[in-house]
Symmetry: C2
Subunit: 346 residues, 2 copies
Amino acid sequence: MAPPAQPRRVTIVDVARHAQVSTTAVSKVLRGAYGASPRMREKVQQAIAELGYRPYAAARGLRGQTYTIGVMLPDIRNPFFPEILDGVTEWFENTDYQVLLGPGCNGEEAEARVTDAMIDRGMDGLLLVAPVSSRARLERLAGAVPMVVIGRHGQSTRYDTVVDDDLAGAALVVDHLVSQGHRHIAHIEHLETDPTRSEEMPNARRAEGYRRAMRAHGLADEIDIVSTSYTQEGGYLGARELLARTRRPTAMFAGADVVAMGVLDALSEAGLSVPDDIAVAGYDNTTLAALRQISLTSVDQGGRAIGGNAARLLLERITDRAKPTAQVTLSPTLMPRNSTAPPAEG
Amino acid sequence: MAPPAQPRRVTIVDVARHAQVSTTAVSKVLRGAYGASPRMREKVQQAIAELGYRPYAAARGLRGQTYTIGVMLPDIRNPFFPEILDGVTEWFENTDYQVLLGPGCNGEEAEARVTDAMIDRGMDGLLLVAPVSSRARLERLAGAVPMVVIGRHGQSTRYDTVVDDDLAGAALVVDHLVSQGHRHIAHIEHLETDPTRSEEMPNARRAEGYRRAMRAHGLADEIDIVSTSYTQEGGYLGARELLARTRRPTAMFAGADVVAMGVLDALSEAGLSVPDDIAVAGYDNTTLAALRQISLTSVDQGGRAIGGNAARLLLERITDRAKPTAQVTLSPTLMPRNSTAPPAEG
DNA sequence: GTGAAAGCGCTAACAT
DNA sequence: ATGTTAGCGCTTTCAC
């Protein structure tokens, strides 16, 4: 009835005994290290197969590596992050490394807890997506473990970065809307509380890109920014605020697709139709945006490529920690869809 | 220029020396174990704070626990899973445990790899969401580590389960549609390849619930099931298949909200409007369904409650592995929205 | 090329 | 109540 006492895990000692070699030999074969003859390799491999041995990563970590990569995502609900993750896991698929994710890390405190936990678990490398920690903390973390930061501008001598050119991405949207005849184009951004960080955060860069593009088109007077958050709720609240303006914007540029979802929700609630009454654009080109019912004009960052580049850089850094850091910037492209069209009245 | 060689990590020995006590004492304080006087506790706590010591989980795992919980989610893209995760993390928030997620585990092979990896990393407990592994494998896993399975029916003597009453959930949808006058109600399910598993999988139970409810309403002849997958793509393909029927259904019940998204996409493509031309219902009541532009009738499983219950059971099982297993079944509720309405022609 | 032995940071028997 | 000591499973010198 009761499950039998679980048999002790097969260890490297069992394998060594079974193959009639030393544990050292087994360890060498396991790691593909130098100093094992083909004959020995084979004997060990066979013993491993026969015994169904799997190395205990936790124990390996005490001396060497844990073969574990930690990925920190700020928000699992944002459908853009899975794209990045795909690029990452794809890269690690044929390696001995295992990718593990931290759960919802909204906010500095949760982020710190998760990243610390990853380091405490001996992870060999960390991949941080749009982290909100202070620059100093990021540097400190990167000093403790190989690290790559995705979606945060600003270069470091300790960690590599992979970013989308958010300035260019925002400009793509503004250019597109202006070319359609829009002038009063509003933007909904993620509120940046800490001024020291704003230079580096993608949300701030998108807002800045929006501002610059508006000025470039001679629309400095039309600049209209609402600061909420990069969530559906944030989009909803932001749109409502914009709708309450005496002069309502003819187009709304949301800093992320999830934000645009909230915007669409608010517009629908107000009985406004898209794009007839108002144009809406997002950022990230998620699968949501492609839905015909939504058909949201959006900016494609190429999440998969971002993730792939980050994974490659991390692997390189794990191999050589002294390697000079790299900064990869990927160019976004515009995906025009039905949610944007010329304004109703000239 | 180059970052200074990282200082060796602070260990329990450093703390012991600093506090002028034994390492055992520090260990005891760390674990809140018996045998440490208040005075000693304080000394140690202070030393820990002064040195900024954090226990090395990987090393702890070699003797005791790693204080790590592994969560396996089959698909990060399904917006229902974050709900479950919220319930889980909430429960572990004030414990010493850290929750870590496996990345996209679609398919038996990926699932096996991730669960094995979690065990190899000495995780103290596993939470599997809608796993597709064979029953035998699940039993084996549960023999190796405390485990709770979410969203898979069938009881085990080794692991606890938390499920939604999928039969009832499917009936809620059918009842609702029938009460609106629909008769030809089609269902899109996730294809179950392995017959031995079909009894336990939620998708199969929903399909069965649909069948039973249809029969209960005397609509056995109208039963119409298309098997694709629980993804947006699956919904799109399923709906296209249904639209090609000589007698087109007046309502489509998708086994999951993501599936319904694909359905809406296909209907929109075909120039059909919802609910005027055709009614659509989903399952999971995700935030997507609540979007006014979508306004999808759906079944609420209470993901948060499911996650919370699972976390509680897992913690209990970690505490007492011999405890008899529990099976928790939660009742779903219907969330009627605009996507369902009486059929056009009576 | 191979293996003996030390030790990673921590916990848990076992003294005291 | 406190400290001593022996490992956990693996990697890594360092002999041979």
